[in-house]
Amino acid sequence: MSALAHYLEEEGLATVAISLIRPQTENTKPPRALWVPFELGRPFGPPGEAAFQRRVILAALGMLERDNGPVIIEDFPDDDPRWQPDPGWRPPPIPAPPAAGSAEALAAQLEAEIPQLRNAHQRWVAQYGRTAVGLCGLSISECGRYVADWLCGKAPPSPREAFSAPLMLRFAVDDVKAYYLEAAAAGTGRPSSRQLGDWLWNETAAGAAIHALREACLASEDDRLKLIAGNFMVPAARVRSTG
């Protein structure tokens, strides 16, 4: 981000950057940056809180009128109120998390679980008017099937010419995760991102399947598949030690 600030400012455009990782910003020295104490992914703070977001954006844009640079790095003072968990939130009901089993059994559980969340996901779309599902271009059931086939060792080819099979798998996994996280947040309550992640990774067949898929792909001889599986399927904070 700070590198872009340098390039654009050198081309004659005034820039102000939001900073999420303060040490990186301090090292790169963009003309103007506002560090914010929010979790990665939320540079303007809590979703659905327009007044809070407006305060952040005004603090940033106000730096464009300053004359004491370069370099100006300032801190936004307030935390994201949505960081706190909502004890009243409940995830949608699904069968108990799967016990350890074969890849085929886990794949079947994943494919059976996806339609069980359809109503919750439809409530999400009705409530927020959008979905982040759609990167790989398949329906969510087809995504589930594609992921399940990989988990069963079938290594299906990519159905899209523009995507290699490993890239298609990455996008299909992204879509499955987006679908689950949206279904989980439908209805009452304002869950934190950690609550939603805890549910996906610990309570669902999808979480178990993606963990298992990661392990299976890491054992592959395909370096590209290993790279994607190792880094771009399970968040670093959720990777389990297989000891």
């Binding site: 981000m1 390039y7 102000v16 003309p31 809590p46 954006i57 005004l58 844009l61 995760k177």
Partner: protein, 153 residues
């Protein structure tokens, strides 16, 4: 919150010690009052309009997001999975504050909102991004943009 102490230690160390490009110059562009500025968002979230080509791997170029893009048509194709996406799923303004910018323009706080906004994928090599960023500056200036809000994830 993203104080580094709140992240898993290995991730915090990697982020804090990530190699950053060093710049010899400290550019500084001044301009008119905020109420006369035309502002564009440049994101590094790997944003792509639904139906267009997502960022593949570490593509170093950018994607355009027209000002009339609907929230349901914006997708995130960033390669990293180590940032929260649930906020963006619920409300794109947490990382792409287009509606907030439009409100500020309607209120007269800023002059106007650019016709087109843009996204890079922030895990790309900054050196490879440079020619694309300089090309992008030309597009922005042709849209009369004078100021850019840089939005990471």
């Amino acid at each position: 919150m993203t104080r580094l102490t709140d992240l898993p230690p290995a991730q915090a160390k990697r982020l804090a010690e990530a190699e950053c490009p060093k710049f010899e110059t400290t550019p500084w562009v001044t301009g008119p009052a905020l109420s006369q500025r035309r502002i564009a968002i440049v994101s590094s979230a790997g944003l792509v309009v639904r139906g267009e080509m997502p960022f593949r791997g570490r593509d170093a170029d950018y994607r355009a997001v027209p000002v009339d893009t609907r929230p349901e048509d914006l997708l995130v194709s960033h390669i990293s999975i180590n940032f929260d996406r649930t906020g963006l799923q619920e409300d794109w303004n947490v990382a792409f504050p287009l509606e907030r910018l439009k409100e500020l323009a309607a209120d007269g706080v800023i002059g106007s909102v650019a016709e087109t906004h843009y996204s890079f994928m922030g895990a790309s090599d900054p050196i490879q991004m440079e020619p694309h960023a300089r090309e992008l500056a030309g597009h922005l200036k042709r849209d009369q943009v004078d100021s850019v809000l840089l939005c990471p994830v």
